[in-house]
């Protein structure tokens, strides 16, 4: 998935798909997040104007929900499941391994902009624990030794 270029037109387009009601706020932000993979400031300002809402309110909602990111993300989002089933099966060791391999900490993006590493609370694949999701691919029953090979596939 590529990070999309942020343009005024795109922002306008997304806003235009929703009714100019305050209740649309989360849905609009979700579409923005899907399009740009984070919430650029221009977008937040434009949403506030469109819904006739102070920027602080938009910001409150944008920071309340974990799905929204205010920082640009890398080309691939690496999400390590930190749900109970994955925790019990040693998912925390996978996170540490990914941090070492990518040379970043959880929440950061690699210098070359390829990977962003994050933790997520349960991907609903608890039966396949421990799992890591990269983009939309679930890597099931994951062990540390498989990680370098998997990352290589995305690095190409």
């Amino acid at each position: 998935m590529n990070t999309q270029k942020i343009t005024k037109n795109k922002i306008k387009g997304i806003i235009g798909r929703h009714e100019a009601e305050k209740t649309s706020l989360i849905a609009i932000l979700q579409d923005m997040q899907n399009e740009f993979r984070y919430l650029p400031k221009e977008a937040l300002v434009a949403v506030g104007k469109h819904l006739d809402m102070p920027l602080a309110r938009v910001y409150e909602v944008a920071t309340f929900y974990n799905a929204f990111s205010l920082k640009p993300r890398g080309r691939y989002l690496v999400e390590v499941c930190a749900g109970t089933a994955c925790h019990v099966k040693g998912g925390f060791n996978l996170l540490a391994k990914l941090e070492r391999e990518l040379k970043i900490e959880c929440g950061q993006t690699t210098k070359d902009g390829t990977f962003t590493l994050e933790q997520v609370r349960c991907l609903g694949c608890c039966s396949l624990a421990p799992v890591v999701r990269i983009d939309n691919d679930i890597h099931a029953y994951l062990t540390q030794d498989k990680i370098p090979r998997i990352l290589k596939k995305y690095r190409k």
């Binding site: 109970t84 040693g90 349960c122």
Partner: protein, 637 residues
């Protein structure tokens, strides 16, 4: 899609659906729920598709949801006329040609099915439809019937009745299994009061957490004043380690929709919302399609079944906040706001979404409704336990052999779930505890393994039913670490509105971290217990109100484990990194050279064929050596 108005139309759709479900030619179904796809079902599906096309075989290929037994996915089901339904587990793309071979030549000798099904249970209508006539085919010798597979033997499938059989994208197949006949019955022959009466009689209690009687809630919402009312489906599934609702929304979306329409009619609502967790894109996709189909058939929209009743449903996606599973927070989120709970004395059945009467139920609760209307409240209440009627779907995960979704009659002892259905603990390890109720629940120790699974018994044991996560833990699971894990989860998910929840949980986390990292002090346990009381009393919503549960239940049953951490600076389960060491067992080490290769810091050393060692100063306790060692030669303690 043609409109459904009369019984005749339903029957026509049913016939079409039956032809699709049990066709007169061969059909192959692949379980394509999220768990199936993650196990490689997509690849198997594509292989089947290309093999069928290559051979120009007259075979129908279909997608279905999950049968629950995730540990044998990808699962491929084959239905051939006059033969039982054959289920092949753990199929790889490589096996596909052989499977097609034996379908075409009518044998089952090369690839052995995992089990077979002689008939299909149409629980909504009470029928059982056989796949073959006459005697059991001789070729089935040595293959288990589904009823003899331990994983399925004690299960009773009510809520998950259609998952893994029907194509969730085809409304006719849902109707074939008796779907929307309950809606017809409700709208054309029952008054709202009669429906509520039946739901009350069924004893159905909410499957999302608290176990509040559904009929009572419906009644209050019906009686509440206001012209505009809402019904809402809670598909937020916040318990990290549970996925029953995902499976239902993915595998049988119409059961939830039908339940909601019936509920809306009974309550007097004309608008409905389904709030789906952010992490569930396939559930959203399947629900969206199902709603469109129901609308196209006239089962949603204006004047449903010519009864004069209007109702429609919208889907709203969560954005990753556990607290939004709480009813008032969920409604705030639906309104486009930050999901902060509000005080409970304002009842949502009177002042809910946009301050109007709103009835919120969990996905599984709604999915049970059509069955209750079809078979009657008395029929339903005869299943399960007296005060906890019906069944409950659990996600049985963690340290257990047969991992998957299981639906069991309530009142079943934990032992049956863990040992009979789950097949016990892997690698000959000892069963230690089972966690239920998610972050609001607790850990039930092995000594209570005979506990019947009911709302009240679980509560008495210091846990709760919750939405259905069951995480099995063995001797290698540290209970202090589990308490720390849940408290850390709750700290990051607290909305921050109440000081006891925000600050108290944070402080508890610090204490638990100290204990896990070897800085625990005498009195810490008592301090945790004290704080727990204050947090329970001083929190607005149940997130804070139940946050201490994982700590209290582990202290109650595993106090000595806390004491070992605090006094002896030892983690008996060998999990807490600050308290353990990795060593090599010289009796088992063969000097194979693997651990020095995988060790990221060079702590594991040794020449080939010489016993290896681990340098404690360099070891970061990452566990890579344990994962790699084939001889079980790494001691962690």
């Amino acid at each position: 899609m043609s409109k459904i108005v009369k019984m005749e139309d339903l029957n026509k759709a049913k016939k079409r659906g039956l032809d699709a479900l049990m066709p007169r030619k061969t059909k192959i179904m692949v379980g394509m729920a999220t768990s199936g796809i993650a196990s490689g079902a997509g690849e198997v599906y594509r292989a089947l598709d290309s093999e069928i096309k290559k051979r120009k075989a007259d075979i129908i290929l279909k997608k279905t949801g999950s049968m629950g037994m995730d540990c044998i996915e990808p699962l491929v089901d084959v239905i051939t006329p006059n033969m039982p339904r054959m289920a092949y587990g753990r199929v790889t793309a490589k096996q596909v040609p052989a499977i097609i071979d034996q379908i075409l030549n009518g044998s089952i000798d090369k690839e052995k099915p995992t089990y077979y099904m002689g008939e299909e249970d149409f629980i909504v209508t009470g029928e059982k439809i056989k796949y073959y006539k006459g005697k059991k085919p001789a070729s089935l010798k040595g293959i288990n019937a589904i009823g003899d597979v331990p994983f399925y033997k004690k299960q009773v499938k009510l809520a998950t009745r259609n998952c893994g059989l029907i194509d969730p994208e085809n409304i006719d197949e849902y109707i074939a299994k008796g779907g929307y006949f309950s809606l017809y019955k409700a709208l054309t022959t029952m008054t709202p009061d009669e429906i509520i009466e039946d739901v009350v009689k069924s004893g159905l209690r909410g499957r999302g957490g608290g176990g509040f009687p559904a009929g009572t809630k419906w009644r209050s919402c019906r009686d509440a004043e206001g012209d505009i009312k809402y019904v809402i489906c809670n598909g937020d599934e916040g318990d990290p380690g549970a996925y029953m609702d995902r499976s239902l929304m993915e595998g049988d979306p119409h059961s939830v929709i039908e339940g909601m329409i019936i509920g809306a009619y009974a309550i007097g609502a004309h608008e409905g919302y389904i709030y789906v967790r952010n992490e569930y894109p396939l559930a959203v996709a399947n629900l969206t399609k199902a709603i469109e189909q129901a609308r196209a058939c006239g089962l949603l929209g204006k004047n449903i079944l010519k009864s004069g009743f209007d109702f429609d449903i919208r889907i709203s996606q969560g954005a990753g906040a556990f607290v939004c599973g709480e009813s008032t927070a969920l409604m705030a989120s639906l309104e486009g706001k930050a999901g902060e709970p509000r005080a409970k004395y304002v009842h949502t059945v009177e002042h809910g979404l946009w301050n109007r009467p709103s009835n919120l139920n969990n996905v599984e609760t709604w999915a049970n409704v059509p069955l209750i209307i079809a078979r009657g409240g008395n029929w339903f209440s005869a299943i399960g336990d007296k005060a906890s009627t019906g069944t409950k779907v659990f996600s049985l995960v963690g340290k257990v052999n047969n991992i998957g979704l299981v639906e069991v009659p309530m009142g079943i002892p934990l032992r049956d779930i863990i040992y009979d259905i789950g097949g016990g603990i892997p690698d000959g390890k000892e069963f230690k505890a089972i966690q239920t109720g998610g972050p609001s629940g607790g850990c039930i120790p092995a000594k209570l393994v005979e506990l019947p699974v009911t709302f009240d018994d679980l509560k008495k044991a210091g846990s709760m039913m919750g939405s259905g996560g069951m995480i099995v833990m063995d001797e290698k699971t540290c209970m202090v670490d589990i308490a720390r894990y849940f408290i850390e989860f709750l700290e990051s998910e607290s909305c921050g509105k109440c000081v006891p929840c925000r600050e108290g949980v944070h402080r508890m986390k610090q204490i638990l971290e100290d204990i896990c990292e070897g800085r625990g002090q005498e009195g810490d346990i008592e301090l945790l217990e004290d704080m727990a009381g204050a947090i329970i009393d001083g929190s607005l919503c149940a997130l804070g109100g139940s946050a201490p549960n994982p700590v209290l239940s582990t202290i109650k049953y595993f106090r000595e484990e806390y004491e070992a951490h605090i006094r002896d600076k030892k983690c008996p389960a060998a999990v807490c990194k600050a308290l353990i060491e990795y060593r090599i067992d010289p009796d088992k080490c063969t000097g194979c050279g693997l651990c020095p290769r995988v060790c990221p810091t060079g702590a594991a050393k040794g020449k080939i064929k010489k016993i290896h060692t681990i340098d404690q100063k360099k070891c970061i306790k990452c566990g890579a050596c344990v994962e790699s060692c084939k001889y079980d030669a790494i001691i962690v303690e």
